[in-house]
Symmetry: C2
Subunit: 275 residues, 2 copies
């Protein structure tokens, strides 16, 4: 048996989402849609008597990761390296949870299936209060549409068949818990409208349009984010806000053409995977 | 709009399967498990007044491809290039159907979702009588386990989290229709036993073991196939038969170590994708 196991999990930016609470964390989650990115988080898991977790070389407390290891009844040294910023709407905590599940299962021979590992990571993320839909989307890859909330045994996913360049700029952090902890009824109504529009025409253009409308209706856009989205629209590009971060992402070259200096990646192809 | 759209679909070798017939082709299909391969079929779709289909430069009749184009109400020039042999258990017809669906949707802007495109390709393959489970497995990638039969709206998939080298040798062709057209009750019983064993322990070792047992119980192995499987077992490797072809595949280096000169690829990561 190797001494280390590794997994890659794509970053994931959500365009719109509705919150679905449930006492059972495998049924709780979010509906909505987003984009999985070719940039993401690489997680290495090694044997250790006591669990330690680091992100880009610094010790961090990530409750979802600890819950995953607890569910597998193991302790380990978990080292994550991220291409995308933390706390800016890229699903880094979900990626760390899912990457830990995949890599720890490989290292310790816990013999869980992919659906079971995604369920463990999704449940851990929900119970930690750090995310509701990133994990299932990151497991699928591409441009995942969350039709029904929850882990693999309850949720229903579809996808928009699309490839191509994704650009993004981040202006700062937003605390997911602050938003998804509040009253979320109007969020869910706006998400249902967006979902309904997208299902009728599952294209990237419609996804970006529905997401911008969601961001405006829910008043989640900060000044800098709204300004960048408008600037991209002014050059006939397609951009919207990453939920929940002070981040704008574009499909294509819109941010560059609007004069920003964005990070550049691609729509992820295959979802989370062992390395 | 571009003048050509392209998609890659992994080859897929099935280790064991049970047949589930249904008047509704989106509910018909197979249970079972297999391995999606890093080698597969690249499909290019271009505008054309009359539909033509070629494989590796030669004109071919592939009913599933024609049914896919019919379902999308388009005509096109479809050119497929395959890394894996036709008629040898690699799901080439399913790959051509799914690749055509993905690429034609992109070229013609038919605005179907991924689930809808997989449904179209799965239904076309079932109606053509050329396959029952390859398409949904090829769409998922990895090591797909078909828990419930049918297209994305009815079937249930899981996966074995595994990576690594796959080797294969092909000794000739088998006609899928000849086998899945016959009475398949004992096949389905053996498949249910294999599935039940695999679900309890979703590992590659268990998958290969259950598949070999399925192949022996159903008496589907030819002399050359059985000989190769035994030769790999003799060097402590893991090999089994690709259903349905005169093909043996191994996880790891078993065929090489047993003195064969196999083709070498990897477990596919992400499933079918636009290029």
């Amino acid at each position: 048996m190797d001494e280390v196991a590794r997994a890659f999990v794509p970053g994931h930016v959500t365009g719109f989402f509705g919150v679905h609470r449930d006492g059972d964390p495998t049924r709780a989650g979010s509906t909505g849609a987003g984009v999985a990115l070719s940039e993401g988080v690489t997680v290495s898991v090694e044997y250790a008597r006591e669990t330690t977790v680091s992100l880009d070389g610094e010790a961090v407390d990530v409750e979802a990761v600890e819950r995953v290891l607890g569910a597998l009844s193991v302790t380990a040294q978990v080292r994550a390296v991220s291409d995308v910023p933390l706390g800016a709407g890229f699903g880094v905590s979900g990626a760390m949870a899912l990457g830990t599940a995949l890599a720890a299962n490989e290292l310790f021979g816990t013999e869980l299936s992919e659906n079971e590992l995604v369920t463990v990571a999704h449940g851990a993320e929900v119970q930690a209060g750090t995310g509701l839909g990133d994990v299932v989307a990151q497991a699928r890859g591409g441009v995942p549409v969350r039709l029904e909330p929850g882990g693999p045994h309850h949720g229903v996913l579809d996808g928009i068949p699309a490839r191509g360049r994704v650009e993004y700029v981040s202006f700062g952090e937003l605390d997911t818990g602050d938003v998804i902890g509040d009253d979320t009824g109007s969020l869910t109504d706006a998400a249902e409208q967006a979902r309904s529009k997208l299902v009728k025409k599952p294209t990237m253009e419609r996804f970006m349009f529905a997401s911008r409308r969601f961001a405006r209706e829910t008043e989640l856009m900060s000044g800098a984010v709204a300004e960048a989205v408008d600037a991209v629209a002014a050059v006939d590009g397609e951009a919207t806000m990453a939920m929940l971060g002070e981040t704008v992402f574009a499909h294509g070259r819109g941010l560059t053409e609007a004069g920003y200096d964005p990070e550049v990646c691609e729509i992820d192809v295959g979802g989370a995977t062992l390395l």
